[in-house]
């Protein structure tokens, strides 16, 4: 099969950048949403829960179209952002947004589960020892949910690497700008003689997914061992 061609490399690099940015940028928001859902009681909690999970259930094309309506040049948010020179539609940043939205429910679910497993009595103990709520979160809660945060991030990253429907609807399939690995595979399959290139990208996809899973297992196990006392 040989090495990857320049076009294929471009797709791999773009995919890694889009997924990395999507994961890192959505992480703080994911922790906040998980914290709100796990710990706070407030009006509209069910609505927030539904909103977070929506991309998991909606057809990706619908999500992509809704993103286009909202963040497109004439969308409510897109128009405001455009005044500040931020354009998302048909740009790689838009692909990152689509990937982040699609991965968000997976990230929030993993972090929320970890948060619910933290004993609030430990946090109360930290408060009595002089730690203000933000410090309690930084020094007790966050270290204890770290395995969940890592698992959630890797899941979201893997989801972002595979995202196709919402991406192609929102930002189309522009080589070098929004043509991620799945879009590239799709494009190669439309071309006569493109099967070899598509096949190589499929192998890269599988390798990256397996690598991500393996990494999450190793990290989770190492953290669990640390907390168990060795």
């Amino acid at each position: 099969m040989g090495g990857l061609g320049p076009e294929e490399w471009q797709a791999v690099r773009l995919s890694l950048r889009v997924s990395g940015v999507a994961t890192l940028a959505s992480l703080p928001l994911g922790i906040l949403a998980a914290h709100a859902l796990a710990r706070w009681s407030f009006r509209g909690k069910a609505l927030l829960n539904g909103l977070v999970h929506l991309p998991l259930i909606l057809p990706p094309v619908v999500t992509g179209y809704l993103l286009l309506l909202t963040f497109g040049r004439r969308g409510a948010v897109g128009e405001v952002l455009a005044q500040f020179g931020i354009v998302l539609a048909f740009r790689w940043t838009g692909a990152a947004l689509a990937a982040a939205v699609m991965g968000f429910p997976l990230m929030v679910r993993a972090i929320r589960l970890a948060l619910e497993a933290v004993d609030p009595k430990l946090e109360a103990a930290a408060r009595t020892l002089g730690a203000s709520p933000p410090w309690v979160f930084a020094t007790v809660t966050l270290p204890l949910i770290l395995p969940g945060v890592i698992a959630g991030s890797i899941l979201a990253f893997a989801k972002a690497m595979g995202e196709f429907g919402a991406t192609i609807t929102f930002v189309a399939n522009i080589p070098g700008e929004t043509r991620t690995i799945p879009s590239a595979i799709h494009a190669f399959l439309q071309m006569p003689g493109g099967e070899a290139a598509a096949g190589r990208l499929v192998i890269v996809s599988v390798a990256l997914a397996m690598g991500a899973l393996w990494l999450s297992e190793v990290l989770a196990r190492r953290l669990a061992r640390r907390v168990a006392g060795q």
């Binding site: 009595k121 020892l129 730690a131 203000s132 907390v227 006392g229 060795q230």
Partner: protein
Amino acid sequence: MTLSIAVTHRFAGFDLDVAFEAPPGATVLFGPSGSGKTTLVNAVAGLLRPDAGRIAAGDWLLLDTAAGRFVPPHRRRLGYVFQESRLFPHLTVRQNLGYGRWFAPRGARAESMSRVVEMLGLGPLLNRRPGALSGGEKQRVAIGRALLAAPKLILADEPLAALDEPRKAEILPYFERLRDEVSVPILYVSHSSAEVARLATTVVALRAGRVVAIGPPGRVLGDVAAVGARGAASVLTARVVAHHADGLTELATAAGALWLPRLPDAPGSAVRVRIAAQDVILSRARPEGLSALNILAGTITGIRHGEGPGAMVTLAVGADRLAARLTRRSAEALGLAPGQSCHAILKTVAIAPEDVGTGTPGAGRARTGPATG
């Protein structure tokens, strides 16, 4: 530092209505489960916000609902030792110990790490994580963590309840040392009369959310209304005289010699001995030809008849009070009356090691305050 607490709080099916003032030293909240002890300590810690109340440690006001004051728990400068140690599992013992100190204000008068490590015997544990510690070790680390936070007040909620007897015997002396060597007031929750007798400067007996008695342990533990006839006990202060070859330790009390199974304390040290009222026999004349080694002379100060066949006789022995639980029939047959001299007989082997603690009970001048609300 005087601890002044007045709290009312209503739960479903239970309400707490408590007001008292305790002098410096170790104050023990004593009562059966469900009497409101933990709720009260959590209110002092700020982990529970009572419906109404005022809590002050010395001139430092922690809570005053009438004035809308509530100091959040992290600004209360406490050291709270919980029943289930609550060590941070992701930190080493050393990091756990340093946790509170990191948040303590700079320049706060704190125990030094090395002194606490030495006092609690934590040296070999410093690099381990809590998951690899035994129950007793965890509790020792929890005590050290609380101490190193430079607390103005130490709280302890049944810190020995989750431990077996040998571990209890291992940890209790550390609290005695805290009381005697560290000048930080302690508020300690317990349902064990032995712990109360050993630790308390002041006992606050709670029942169903109300204070039923308050005062030095000798007085409260002898108060049948507070502890029930079965739980009634006395606390004698004594000084270790010598250890004898036959395995006994000789103590001197104001009312005569006391012989106990061998104690670890060095000759000259002060101890307090808890004596259950039902282990005491009374005799008008000084008995002879008796196997019991301990015969203390005293004067009857009071006789109280219960609803059943029992009677509680209190004697003044030196500066201490000694309670004896007899049958009413015996009390009448002996013709006991206040003012009479009398001899109290104690079997040496009836006094268990956990009944003997170090230090002298403080002569607290506690008073029962009026209930608020």
